[in-house]
Amino acid sequence: MSIRRFPLDWPLLVVGLLLSAYGISIVYSAGQTDIATGVAKLWRSQLLWFLVSIAACFAVSRFSVRLLDWLTWPMYWLSVALLVVLLFVGKGAGTAASTKSWLAIGGLRIGQPSELAKITVVLALAKVLATFKEPPRSLLELWKPALIVGIPWALIMKQPDLGTGIVFVGFAFAMLFWAGVSWPLLVLVASPVVSLILAFNTSIWGAWFLLLIALVLWYKPYMYEGIFLVVMNVIFGVVSPIIWEKLAPYQQKRLLVFIDPNIDRRAAGYHVNQAQIAIGSGGWFGKGFTEGTQKRLAFLPAQHTDFIWAVVGEELGFLGVTIGLALFAVLFLRIVKISERANDSYSSLVAFGLLASWFVHVLENMGMTLRLMPITGIPLPFF
C-alpha cells in the first residue's frame, strides 16, 4: 500500500500522537499523590482509550465521506433523543453531582451523551450550511442552523451544563463564520447574549446598546429584523437580573468567583486559587515531573480532570506549558489548512467545526485555570 492509495496527513497524526503521549503522562502524574486515591490507576484506562481511539481514527479515516454524510441525520436525532432521555434518567458526577449529564445503567456510568452531540451537531450543522449557495445575509435565513444547534443546546443547558453549552455556541459561530456569514451579522446575532451579560452594569449596557444601534444603522438589516434585535437586547437586558435570581446558588457562586476569586477563598474560590498557586509556583521549569506539592498533598482539586493543566504548570513550569500550547497551535493550524483544502463544503465545515470545538475546550479549560474564564468544569482535549 502506498501513500497515494492511503492519503494521510502525517503532521496531523504526529502532533495528535505527541499530544496524546503528553496527556497520558500528565494523567499518570496526576495520580501520584502522597495519600493514594483511585486517580493513581486512571492513566491505564487513559492508555486503553487511546488505543481504542487510534483504532477508531483508522476506521473513520477509511470511511467514505459520503457514508458520514449519509449517517449525519440519524446520528443527530439519536443524540437529541439521548439528551431528551437524559432529562429523566440523567445522573450527576463529581463536583456537579446535582446535574443530569451522565447516562447510567445501574450504578455504572456509561457516558455523557453531550460528548456525542458535540460531534453529531457539528456534522448536522455542516450538512445544513453546505446547502447554502450564498452566505446568509439576514437573520431569517439563519433559522435552520439556529434550530439545529438550538435544540441540543437547550437540552444541555437544562441539565445544566454551562461549559458544554459554551462549546456549542463557540463552534456554531465558528462554522457560521467559515460558511461566509459576515461578521457584523454575527455580532448582531450575538448581541442579545452580550446584553444578557452586560446588564449587570447599567452604564456599560447603555454603551453597548448605543454601539448596537450604530451597527444596525450601518449594516441595514431588514426593518423588522433591526427592530427585533433591538427589542431582544432590551428584553435580555431587563430579564438578566431575573435569570440571575433563577440560577442555582453554585452557578451564581462560580460566576461570582470568576469575577473575584477572593470572595469565598475556602469554598468556591478555593479551587481556582489552588490551581493558580500550583501554576504560579511552577516557575520557569516546574517542580519536576510527579513532584508538584500542590498536587501531591491534595491542595489542587480535580487534578486529573478540570485542573489537569495546573499539574503541567506546576511540575513542568512555563516550559511545559509553552510546549503544550505550541503542540495545540500546530494541531489547530493544521486543521485550518485541512479545512481550506477540503474538496467539498461539507468536509470543510466538519473539519472546521471540530477544530472550533477543540479550540473552545482549550480556551475554556486553560482560561479557567488562569481565572480568565468562569469555572465550568470542562475537560482539556488529549489530557
Binding site: 461566509g180 509556583s281 500542590q294 509553552t322 495545540f328 497551535a329 489547530f332 481550506e340
Partner: protein
C-alpha cells in the same frame, strides 16, 4: 457554502490569526503567573504545605561569682496540635481529654492561642511531664496533627534559695502579647516573669529556631523532617552574677522556716550583690510550666506573704539604723561633732513642747557624746541633734543621701523608698502650718514618714563603709557604679566607723562580736504600728559591715516583728562570719 477559493483562504488566514492570537494570549497569562508572579505563588505554595514548628532556644545559664549554676536548662516536652480550623482543634482536644488530663480552661486557652496564630502549631501543654508524653506517644496514630517536641525547661538547682532574686519564667501571657515590648513574641513562648529572668530577658532568651513539617490539604503531617532546612536555635549567652551561692544558701538556712524578713549582702567596694534573700521563700521550680493552682493558693493565702519580696518590695521604718544619716548630716553641717555632748542629758526621755518624747531605754543614758549616743542608740541625743538641724535640712539631706530613691539594683521588683521630698510634703499631708517642728524628733531617729527597703539601707551603709561613695547594688557582674554621697573628711569617716565598732564592742550589738574581725554596724528597733496584746511589735534591724578597717561586705538584715535589733545583729554577724570564713568570739579556735 461558497465558494470562491479566495474567500476560503481569507477566512483561513483570519481563523489562523485568531487561533495563534488566543494561544499567545494564554501563553502571556501563564507567563505572568509563572514567571512574573512566581515569587508570590511559590510562597503561597510553601505556606500551604509547610508548617513551622518553633524550636525554643535554651535560655542563658545563670552563674554565681564562683561559676556555680544558679539557673540551668533541663529537657522538657511541649505538646502542640496542628489544626486547620478551630472546630477541628476543639475536636482533637476533646479526644485528647479522653487520653490525658486536659481541663476546660486549658481547652479555652488553647483555642485562644490558635486564633492568634492559626498557622503555627497550637501549644496545648507547654511543659508536659514525661508520663503525659509517653501516654501520648502510645496513642500517636489516633492524633495525626499532634506534635510532641522536646523543649528546654528552666531548672533552678537551689529552688527556693534563689527565687527571691532569680524569679521564674512562664508562658508569655495574652496581656503581654498585646504590648509593644512583646511584638517579637509568639503565643506559647517562655518569657522571664520576675527577678533576673525578667530583667535580663532580652539577653537570656536566645534566638528561637524553626523546624518545618509538611502537611497535606487536610492538615495531616506527611513528612516530619527534611521538608525544608531547619533553622537551628541559637542558645543565649550565660549570665555571670556577683551572687555567692554558698553565702546565699547560708542566708536562706539561717532564716529557715521560722523567721520572716529579708537580708542583703553587698560588696561595698563594687556594689556586687553577694546574697539577697526574702523569707519565707517559694520554689521557683514549681512555677515553671504553669503554677499549680493549689501551690499558688497556698502562697497567696500564707499570712507570712512569701510572694512579697521583703528585701526589694518591703519598705519598713528604718528605726535607729537611720540615726547614722542624722549623724552624717550633723557632721556635714557642723551641727555636731563626735566628742560633743548635747545640753540635755538622757533621763529616759525628754520634754518637748507639750509632749514627752521617750528614749527606748527608760533607764536613761545620761550625758553622752555622739559616739556614745550611736553605741547606745540614745534617742534623746538624736532628738536634740534633729532639732538643731531642723526639719528642712534633715529632709533635704535625707533626699540627697538617697532615702527617697531606689537603690537601683538590676531587678524589676525593687520599690522606691518612702521619704518626704521636702517640707512641702508635710504641708500636703497635714495642711499648711498644721504641723510642728516636733516632727523632726521622730524623723531624727528613723521613725515618722520614712520607710526604707533593706536593700536601700545596705546601699547607704556601703557609703559609710568606704570613702563615702554609695555603690549601686548589682547582681550581674559589671562595672561598679558608685556615687559620692557623703561629704565628710577622712577623719570624720573614721570617727563614724569607730562609733559603729563601738556598737558591737560595747553597745547594742555587743553579743554579735566576731573574733579576729572587727565588725561595725548599727541595730535598729523600728515601731511597726502593729500591736499584739498591748505590746507594739517591732521590726528588728541591723545594718553593718566588716572588717571595720577595710570593709569587704555590708550586710543589712531585717526581721519582721522580730523585736529588738540585737536579733538581727546576731544574724548579720553570722552571715559576715560565713563570708569572711572566721569564727565568733565564743568559739575556741586559735585564730588571731
Amino acid at each position: 457554502m461558497s465558494f470562491h477559493p479566495n474567500d476560503i483562504v481569507r477566512r483561513g488566514r483570519a481563523a489562523s490569526l485568531i487561533v495563534v492570537g488566543a494561544l499567545l494570549f494564554l501563553a502571556g497569562g501563564f507567563f505572568r503567573s509563572q514567571v512574573l508572579n512566581h515569587q508570590k505563588y511559590a510562597l503561597q505554595s510553601e505556606t500551604n504545605r509547610l508548617r513551622e514548628l518553633p524550636l525554643p532556644a535554651p535560655r542563658g545559664v545563670i552563674y554565681d561569682r564562683n561559676n556555680k549554676v544558679i539557673a540551668d536548662n533541663v529537657i522538657g516536652y511541649s505538646v502542640s496540635v496542628l489544626a486547620q480550623k478551630e472546630d477541628s482543634l476543639r475536636a482533637v482536644l476533646q479526644r485528647l481529654s479522653g487520653t490525658i488530663n486536659i481541663t476546660a480552661p486549658q481547652i479555652e486557652q488553647s483555642v485562644r492561642r490558635y486564633r492568634r496564630a492559626p498557622n503555627r502549631p497550637t501549644v496545648i501543654i507547654p511543659d508536659a511531664s514525661f508520663d503525659v508524653v509517653s501516654v501520648l506517644e502510645e496513642h500517636r496514630s489516633q492524633f495525626p496533627g499532634l506534635i510532641i517536641q522536646s523543649a528546654p525547661r528552666r531548672f533552678y538547682p537551689d529552688g527556693p534559695v534563689v527565687a527571691p532574686f532569680v524569679g521564674y519564667t512562664g508562658e508569655v501571657s495574652e496581656a503581654e502579647l498585646t504590648q509593644a515590648a512583646f511584638t517579637e513574641y509568639k503565643a506559647g513562648q517562655q518569657v522571664g516573669k520576675q527577678g533576673l529572668e525578667k530583667e535580663y530577658e532580652s539577653v537570656l532568651r536566645g534566638k528561637e529556631g524553626s523546624q518545618f513539617v509538611e502537611v497535606d490539604a487536610r492538615g495531616r503531617v506527611v513528612k516530619n523532617a527534611g521538608a525544608r532546612q531547619d533553622l537551628i536555635p541559637v542558645a543565649a549567652p550565660p549570665l555571670y552574677t556577683n551572687i555567692d551561692m554558698e553565702l546565699q544558701r547560708f542566708v536562706a538556712g539561717i532564716f529557715g522556716d521560722s523567721l520572716i524578713g529579708g537580708a542583703v549582702a553587698i560588696d561595698p567596694n563594687t556594689g556586687g550583690v553577694l546574697a539577697l534573700y526574702s523569707a519565707p521563700s517559694w520554689d521557683a521550680n514549681r512555677f515553671i510550666g504553669g503554677i499549680p493552682a493549689q501551690y499558688w493558693d497556698s502562697l497567696r493565702l500564707d499570712p507570712r506573704r512569701p510572694l512579697y519580696n521583703k528585701a526589694l518590695q518591703g519598705t519598713y521604718p528604718p528605726g535607729s539604723t537611720w540615726k547614722l544619716a542624722t549623724t552624717v548630716l550633723g557632721l556635714e553641717t557642723g551641727a555636731a561633732r563626735m566628742n560633743e555632748k548635747q545640753p540635755i542629758p538622757c533621763t529616759g526621755g525628754m520634754q518637748y513642747g507639750s509632749r514627752y518624747f521617750r528614749c527606748w531605754d527608760k533607764r536613761g543614758h545620761g550625758f553622752l557624746d555622739l559616739k556614745g549616743a550611736i553605741a547606745k542608740s540614745c534617742d534623746v541625743y538624736f532628738y536634740q541633734l534633729g532639732l538643731k538641724l531642723g526639719l528642712a535640712r534633715l529632709v533635704a539631706g535625707g533626699v540627697d543621701l538617697g532615702f527617697q530613691s531606689r537603690a537601683g539594683i538590676d531587678l524589676p521588683e525593687e520599690k522606691r523608698a518612702r521619704f518626704p521630698t521636702g517640707t512641702e510634703y508635710f504641708d500636703r499631708k497635714y495642711g499648711k502650718n498644721k504641723w510642728t517642728r516636733s516632727l523632726v524628733l521622730s524623723m531624727a531617729i528613723g521613725q515618722g514618714d520614712n520607710s526604707q527597703t533593706i536593700l536601700n539601707m545596705a546601699k547607704f551603709y556601703s557609703a559609710l563603709a568606704t570613702d563615702g561613695k554609695a555603690a549601686r547594688p548589682q547582681i550581674m557582674r559589671g562595672k561598679p557604679d558608685r556615687t559620692q554621697i557623703l561629704k565628710l573628711s577622712a577623719d570624720q569617716m573614721n570617727q563614724i566607723r569607730e562609733a559603729l565598732v563601738g556598737v558591737v564592742t560595747s553597745g547594742t550589738a555587743a553579743q554579735s562580736a566576731i573574733k579576729g574581725v572587727q565588725l561595725a554596724g548599727k541595730t535598729g528597733t523600728a515601731q511597726s504600728g502593729k500591736v499584739v496584746e498591748g505590746k507594739e511589735q517591732n521590726h528588728a534591724w541591723f545594718v553593718g559591715f566588716a572588717p571595720a578597717e577595710k570593709p569587704s561586705i555590708v550586710v543589712a538584715v531585717m526581721i519582721e516583728f522580730g523585736g529588738h535589733g540585737t536579733r538581727a545583729a546576731a544574724i548579720a554577724s553570722k552571715i559576715i562570719q560565713k563570708y569572711l570564713h572566721v569564727v565568733p568570739v565564743v568559739d575556741l579556735s586559735v585564730e588571731g
